[in-house]
């Protein structure tokens, strides 16, 4: 049954593709809805069985060579259900959203295929199965990001795929190492076999850390952990909104799932590991929020927010390792924040999708005021926004409080010299919470409170021209849209249901959230804890209030002043103040991976590659070449030949180097031969003439005279 959950949607994807080709959009859309809802229903049934004491698992020993195994437990039920629920909602939402898109068959194919893979990741009981579905998921979700096939989306998709492939391969290296240490990849056996291996040979510990680091790299790349977050802010804005919701809400969580497995199975209660994750989490959390504050594109802001929330979750995972046995708070905070964030992002991205569907714009200046008077949209967005900002009474507050409490708890336990560090981390935590509120306020005010100013409307025109070209243009639809209609019943149903779920969750922190958390605790090897946390106690509310006030301060003190400028008409507009060059991808990764490393490597390797060929050809020319028989020179002699050839070579060399632009072509050998011939010829002619004889005679006379004089002088002296 579990295997059907993973493989079923993949088959459904193929069927949807064929249906779309054969019968057109409506049939395919209904089929896709059916598949997604069916998946949810089947999963609920499986969970029901599991919770009532019938273990549900799937093991295929020989499948894929190393054996696949899936199982259900508390955590897996929660995340499987979250995934299936999100897919069901986004599939329903996709119908209207994708109505004006080309190539939707491909979209649905990859959409459903990824559902299977993602559920597979969350249900996997061993790391090989995780890896397998993880890779499938990475590749199939590429198609979402690239769907528009504009230059930006292709570039973002390229980044996404590169990060995914590199992450996947590094993770594979980690798996190799881990397997060589433990001989098993089953999650429930990992802890024991690793500790056994370490006890048997302490030097293995280093290897375990390397393996863990490699896997952290792979899962962290998917989760959007700093410094591998580069794909997140680029991929989300360009993907279709339902896909962004899933990318952000659930695909990043599959990375978190992996990190959780490593942290709670391999490095259970390991403070060094916990501290590493904590530091990475703090950086991710803060950087994401900072980018979010600066961003002026609604989906980009939401993407940065995802990154920041992933940072919060990582902080929770880090605290789990640091707190050791008493980590119940951190565990509960982590799982609740994961669930919250998934649902929040589902709601928020669908809201952004509605905006884009109507305006085909994402820039805050173009969409401002769109939401005015649209009650459903406002309510949904507000639920998500308040929840993510951690306002008491909403679900995000509960999970953030738990995370905050866990930091405080450890701060009081930690050695005195580390107290400052954790105080600092706590401060960053609260500050980031404030920044979250600030950028959510920025979005809310811009979309729902400000006056509507007409955007460029360019995106709109493009889509209509496309629709008109493909027979998709519907005049009544267009007319209704002008009358204030902005989404159909199915889309509102999806948004309302998702928002309602979120609201209910927040309304019953003890009734719903505590139970959810208790369900997931065994997965992370945590202990149950006795007393209930009083979420609305004075101390906890204080933390929330500090964040809220910081948030208001940032919004009014920074965003409304520094990040908004008056344009020529006197209207205040949002400006993109983030320096364009400050982009870690373009600054470091792309140059290094596209130019520097390939250049250096290929330079060295090309020499090696050509070595044999060159040796062979050198031998052919020298040792193995035929010796040419010495032929008599046609003209000139040895001297002219040698100097002539030497000069020719010099000329050739000069032509190749110095005189490249004005090469000289003189055959020096010929020239020298000619001039030597000339000299000899003249000499011959002269020596035969009478005047030459006379000259010689006179010379002889002169010499005789000189000799006589010489003798005379000698004699006298």
């Amino acid at each position: 049954m579990l295997f059907t959950l993973a493989a079923g949607p993949m088959v459904a994807g193929v069927i949807a593709f064929i249906l779309g080709k054969k019968f057109g959009r409506p049939v395919r859309d209904y089929f896709a809805d059916l598949a997604a809802v069916g998946e949810l229903a089947l999963l609920i049934y499986c969970s029901y069985l599991e919770l009532n004491g019938t273990p549900v698992y799937f093991i295929a020993k020989d499948m894929c060579g190393l054996g696949l195994s899936l199982k259900l437990d508390g955590f897996r039920i929660i995340y499987g259900l979250v995934a299936a629920f999100m897919w069901a909602m986004t599939t329903i939402f996709s119908r209207e959203y994708m109505a004006h898109y080309p190539r939707t068959n491909r979209y649905y194919f990859f959409f459903l295929f990824t559902l299977g893979a993602t559920v597979g990741v969350f249900l996997s009981a061993d790391l090989f199965t995780t890896f397998l579905f993880f890779e499938i998921m990475s590749f199939t979700s590429y198609a979402w990001v690239a769907h528009d096939e504009t230059k930006e989306s292709l570039r973002a998709a390229e980044t996404y795929l590169c990060v995914a492939v590199i992450g996947g391969m590094v993770m594979l290296m980690g798996l190799f190492l881990l397997y060589s240490i433990t001989g098993t990849l089953r999650m429930d056996e990992l802890y024991e076999s690793v500790s056994q291996a370490v006890v048997a040979d302490p030097s293995v510990k280093l290897r375990v850390y390397v393996a863990g680091g490699c896997m952290l790299f792979g899962f962290g790349a998917k989760a959007g952990m700093f410094p591998l977050h580069i794909w997140l802010p680029k991929a989300h804005p360009v993907a279709p909104a339902p896909a962004s919701a899933l990318l952000s809400g659930i695909l990043t969580k599959s990375g978190i799932f992996g990190i959780l497995v490593i942290s709670s199975q391999i490095f259970l209660h390991d403070p060094y590991w916990g501290f590493t994750i904590l530091v990475l989490g703090v950086i991710t959390m803060f950087t994401g929020a900072l980018l979010g504050v600066f961003s002026i594109n609604i989906k980009r802001t939401l993407a940065c927010s995802s990154m920041s929330q992933i940072g919060f979750i990582l902080v929770g995972i880090g605290m789990q390792g640091l707190l050791g046995e008493e980590n119940a708070l951190a565990i509960r905070g982590t799982i609740l924040h994961m669930v919250n964030h998934s649902l929040i992002k589902l709601v928020l991205f669908m809201c952004a999708g509605v905006i884009y569907m109507n305006l085909h714009e994402l820039d805050l200046n173009s969409i401002r005021g769109f939401g005015k008077g649209k009650i459903v949209l406002t309510a949904a967005f507000l639920t998500g926004g308040l929840s993510i900002s951690g306002i008491p009474g909403f679900s995000g507050y509960v999970s953030k409080t738990l995370l905050h409490e866990s930091i405080v708890e450890y701060m009081n336990e930690a050695p005195a010299e580390m107290y400052g560090t954790y105080k600092f981390i706590e401060a960053v935590f609260l500050l980031t919470g404030g920044m979250t509120l600030a950028y959510m306020t920025k979005l809310f005010v811009a979309v729902f409170l400000e006056k509507r100013t007409q955007g460029t409307g360019q995106g709109h025109a493009e889509v209509y021209s496309y629709d008109a070209g493909n027979g998709l243009y519907d005049e009544s639809h267009d007319k209704r849209r002008r009358e204030g209609y902005y989404m159909n019943d199915q889309s509102s149903f999806a948004i309302i249901l998702a928002a309602l779920g979120l609201f209910v969750l927040g309304a019953g922190p003890y009734r719903f959230m505590d139970r959810l958390a208790s369900l997931a605790v065994p997965f992370m090897n945590g202990e149950g804890f006795g007393e209930k946390v009083n979420y609305f106690s004075g101390g906890n509310l204080k933390g929330g209030l500090i964040s809220v006030s910081i948030g208001m301060l940032i919004y009014f003190g920074f965003i409304r002043t520094v990040l908004m400028k008056k344009d020529e008409n006197g209207n205040k507009v949002y400006i993109d103040a983030w320096p364009a060059w400050l982009d870690i991808e373009n600054l470091i990764y792309r140059p290094a991976l596209q130019h520097i490393i390939p250049f250096v490597l290929s330079f060295i390797l090309r020499i090696i590659d050509r070595m044999t060929d060159h040796i062979v050809s050198l031998m052919q020319r020298t040792l193995l070449s035929e010796i040419e028989p010495r032929r008599p020179l046609l003209y000139g002699n040895a001297f002219t030949h040698m100097t002539g050839i030497a000069l020719d070579k010099v000329e050739e060399l000069l032509n190749d180097t110095v005189r490249k632009k004005r090469p000289k072509h003189v055959n020096y050998e010929k020239k020298i031969v000619l001039s030597v011939e000339q000299v000899f010829k003249t000499f011959r002619l002269t020596s035969r003439s009478v005047s030459f004889g006379l000259m010689m005679f006179s010379l002889g006379c002169i010499f005789t005279l000189i000799y006589l004089i010489y003798v005379l002088v000698m004699h006298i002296s």
């Binding site: 690239a146 096939e149 998709a157 590094v170 290296m173 590659d609 044999t612």
Partner: protein
């Protein structure tokens, strides 16, 4: 049948031989079906098919040979029989490539011949025996000479398998041959080099003489170097068939790497990779041929938007590309898994983890040079967004082999047990 007093022609296939034989025959048939359509427009078809059959015969001989001399003779016959396939086009390039090919083949084979003389002197018999035939009494004091010779033999026969330093013929010869021939050259003839090295190392010299010595380190070092070098050169190469040839250089060295590990898991990985790579590379060259035949495009950049014209072909291409990169659940992931874990299991200090790292780097580069084409073909960008369609899909004779092989190369990864059992059986019988 005796050639000399104690040198006989002797055929005796065992499991290893049969595995290679089946692989060769299967791929030969696939390429044959493919060539029906591909060779339609070519000249000198009779000559092509004559030598094509002769190639198969000689390869069957290699696989079934029971002693060294028989294998060696068939090996030389194969080199000569494949030469006309390379020369087929009779252009100046083809002739130059043919010369280079024969030079490397014969040169490599002569290096291998040295080993033959040594085995003749120091061994009990020339027949293949699992575990080696060397006579320890006679060999005493000459072990190092034997090791040097073994390395020479590895390098010599490694030339067929495209191992550095004698890999130079592949990127020259493969692109000029007609596609069915280059598919077979790249997918199967290179494997004969692997096969001969297995025979020599495991059935004549024996693993004990080599294991843990400098010869093993050198062999491993050469294969690791070749793996990275081949992928990097392929990544930088623009002519598509040449890129595939470099990819072969890299991928066949995966198999050699497994053999050089001298442990059971590594050997299983090597054998599996022989099979999986053969399927994938044959398909890739057939895709290249189909594209050349239908559109005349030879460069990697020309594949932009290709999926619109040849969707099925490009789907096959994508499947086998994923296989070669080693994305689970496709087949080549398995062989890579075995190679890497086998390598980490050995006690060879540096090289035991350098090998897996090289595999990972090579996989990344493979993704870079194969998947980039898939992306170009399927996601060409919005300037290519026009509805006019002119299908250029090749005919069924070309599509069927491609489809069969690409689907199989994925399926063998999902239901791997039959193939794995064979590999395990062979590995258990010789190590």
């Amino acid at each position: 049948m005796y050639l000399l007093k104690d040198v006989s022609i002797y055929f005796r296939p065992d499991t290893l031989g049969l595995m290679f034989l089946m692989l060769t025959a299967a791929m030969w048939i696939m390429d044959l079906i493919y060539s029906i359509e591909y060779m339609k427009g070519e000249k000198h078809r009779k000559r092509f098919y004559l030598f094509y059959v002769l190639t198969l015969i000689s390869m069957c001989g290699i696989c079934m040979a029971g002693n060294l001399i028989t294998m060696y003779m068939c090996y030389e016959l194969m080199a000569i029989a494949t030469l006309p396939l390379v020369l087929h086009e009779q252009t100046e390039d083809a002739i130059a490539a043919g010369k280079k090919y024969i030079f490397y083949s014969v040169g490599g084979a002569f290096l291998g011949l040295v080993g033959f003389f040594f085995i003749y002197v120091y061994g009990d018999t020339l027949n293949f025996t699992p575990g080696g035939v060397l006579n320890t009494v006679r060999l005493a004091g000459h072990e190092n000479a034997m090791r040097v010779v073994t390395l020479l033999v590895i390098i010599g026969f490694g030339s067929k398998a495209g191992m550095f330093p004698l890999h130079g013929w592949l990127p020259t010869a493969h692109p000029v041959a007609p596609s069915p021939a280059s598919a077979f050259l790249s997918g199967n003839i290179t494997k004969m080099g692997v096969f001969v090295i297995i025979r020599y190392l495991y059935y004549l010299v024996g693993a004990d003489l080599i294991k843990g010595t400098w010869v093993q380190y050198t062999f491993l070092g050469l294969t690791v170097l070749t793996i990275v070098m081949g992928s990097m050169m392929a990544y930088k190469e623009q002519v598509f068939k040449k890129r595939l040839a470099y990819s072969t250089v890299s991928q066949v060295s995966y198999a050699l790497f497994g053999i050089a590990l001298f442990n059971r898991i590594g050997l299983i990985g090597g054998l599996l990779h022989v099979i999986f790579h053969s399927f994938a590379k044959n398909t890739l060259f057939e895709v290249a041929g189909a594209v050349i035949l239908k559109t005349g495009k030879k460069k990697a950049d020309d594949y932009k938007d290709m999926a619109r014209y040849m969707p099925i072909t490009m789907c096959c291409y994508t499947l086998v590309s994923l296989t070669l990169v080693g994305i689970p659940p496709t087949s080549a992931f398995l062989s890579k898994w075995y190679l890497a874990t086998g390598s980490l299991e050995t006690e060879l200090s540096v090289i035991s983890w350098l090998g897996p790292v090289a595999l990972i780097i090579s996989a990344l580069l493979t993704a870079g040079y194969l998947l980039s084409i898939t992306l170009k073909a399927f996601f060409p960008g919005d300037e290519y967004d026009y509805p006019c369609l002119e299908k250029k899909e090749p005919g069924k004779y070309m599509l069927i082999p491609m489809l069969i092989m690409s689907v199989l190369s994925v399926m063998m990864g999902i239901w791997a047990e039959p193939v794995m059992r064979v590999a395990r059986l062979i590995a258990a019988s010789i190590l």
